[in-house]
Symmetry: C2
Subunit: 331 residues, 2 copies
């Protein structure tokens, strides 16, 4: 029905100029108290809200940040997004969130949307198959900082923030040694993903150096269902593992389903440790021991990095959120 109030409307109703209204609303010392009050009252009455589009156009600097992720819902991204949104909003920014569906083409299109909306900066967690990151670099040339999160390019020449894969894996491995496990099953995710490769390598390396006598068994599972099936299959073997290391929450859920079906008691029949965001482990009894790779913390860290980028810090940084061992009763 009624279009939104504007400075012009207020100025006309009050018989004063637009610039006076504008200054009055931002408490400019040039404007008399009497005028300010008149303007204030009327703008309240009309529910005036400044048009962000006009401001952005005029000032050439928007208060919106872009975020591109493969998916919103899931084991990790929801908490990452939640903390990022909270942080940005608390600092006067808003977050434009876009899903790529793990599709590089959609991802590129989302990047376009960010450009069109003239976002001040963009966070991006790459899709699995993204190879071409030059479009992202072009943004940096236009003075729009780009910060890669979690799923980052191998290219060294960009801002990256990741979870500490090696530290998290090592921490878990140490706990396994400390628990005196002798026959460990390591379950890993999609082996094409760099995160899988890094965690698997760290896993191997730790035991090779620190506990070469421990028997290792490695399996890949592309989703929870496969993790479930692997566990079931392996339990048909004569010699069963005395502990399972789960690379991720997805793996953990599959394994735990098998554990329930096999009626295994934790930690007596079997020890379990995982790398996790923290939500899944506390669903079970006993709660699962895990090393935390927190999406929440990653979001916080990413935002502070964005702030310094926006402030002009042009040097590249490769940050990691620390990993911490959270002891449940499963090991």
């Amino acid at each position: 029905m009624k279009p939104a109030a504007t400075l012009k409307k207020i100025s006309e109703s009050l018989g004063i100029s637009i610039s006076t209204v504008s200054r009055a609303l931002k408490n400019h010392p040039d404007i008399s108290e009497a005028t300010k009050k008149k303007v204030w009252d009327l703008s309240n009455l009309l529910d005036y809200e400044p048009n962000a589009n006009a401001i952005n156009l005029r000032t050439n600097h928007s208060k919106v940040l872009g975020l591109i992720v493969p998916v919103i819902s899931g084991y990790f991204y929801d908490s990452l997004i939640a903390s990022l949104e909270e942080e940005t909003r608390l600092h006067g920014y808003s977050l434009l969130i876009l899903q790529s569906g793990d599709d590089p083409m959609v991802e590129l299109n989302n990047l376009k949307l960010c450009k069109q909306n003239r976002v001040a900066g963009v966070f991006v967690s790459l899709s699995t198959n993204t190879v071409e990151i030059s479009p992202f670099k072009k943004l940096s040339d236009n003075d729009i900082p780009v910060i890669f999160l979690d799923k980052v390019p191998t290219d060294v020449d960009c801002n990256k923030i990741c979870v500490a894969d090696v530290a998290a894996t090592t921490l878990a491995a140490e706990a396994l040694v400390e628990a005196k496990k002798k026959n460990i099953l390591g379950l890993f995710g999609n082996s094409k993903m760099s995160i899988t490769q890094e965690r698997k390598a760290a896993f191997h390396q730790f035991f090779a150096i620190n506990a070469p006598k421990i028997k290792l068994q490695i399996a890949d599972a592309i989703n929870p269902m496969e993790a479930y099936q692997r566990t079931i299959d392996i339990w048909k073997q004569a010699k069963k593992p005395d502990a399972i290391f789960c690379m991720s929450d997805e793996i953990l859920t599959g394994v735990m389903k098998a554990v329930q079906q096999l009626k295994l008691q934790l930690p007596t029949d079997l020890g379990i440790i995982a790398i996790s965001n923290g939500f899944i482990p506390q669903l079970y009894y006993p709660e699962i021991t895990y090393t935390e790779t927190s999406g929440y913390k990653l979001g916080k860290l990413a935002y502070t990095r964005m702030v310094s980028c926006l402030a002009g810090s042009s040097f590249i940084q490769n940050l990691k959120v620390d990993a911490v061992l959270v002891r449940g009763g499963s090991l």
Copy 2:
């Protein structure tokens, strides 16, 4: 470094007018093929992307929708948000997502942000304690549709889209009767929330009418921990329930933790049914039987409703996503 390309820059480089460039880029028939090609080539070279702020200002009609939710991460909202984002993006819109943290003041501020950004419409899932919904109604007066999702006001005079609380509850209750359960524990959430009240009322009503002889036991739990504790406590009683109805995923997780601790076998020792988004039930073995209240479906439905509102449909609608029973092995 380099500011973004504009129509003006292209026009100056080519020695033609801004309007010609504008028309060329949108394939206007007035422009010759030769000119179009020149413009096209240069705009590609310069990575030109139209300035959405300028367009919104000029056309007075933005391609951004607002979404205000209590939280992003959780049992339900992540999937709702995921489907809503997907739907909006596929139709050329973007989604500005704002968390209220279940705080009415923040919620109001988020609404302001939506106004300032001149969103085309807003979806909102109210915080628990929101009483004043007139600010939302004012938006509708300004021709920007407001659609309430899930957590909706009691006021009849607005667009609402909810899950079918009564149908979901009834469906679950029917399944309990069909499974010949005689002593049922109903576990419900925060009793201040309308969703709790509706589900509880439907629960009571169904049994009063259809199976008055079944023994009911009702308990409230404000979070998973309480649900866990209630279950543990009740299992110290002499006469134990033969089935538990869980009003929500939060309740279900608490109950299942107790079930694991008590080493109860499903469905022999105990039957379990829940109302759920679908993710949690398939974490367990056997999988939990549940009536689905899908955030995903709710998002889809909400978007189609938004479309018709944007197209001018001003009549009020109170839609519900259908509930469907998904049989696991827990009952």
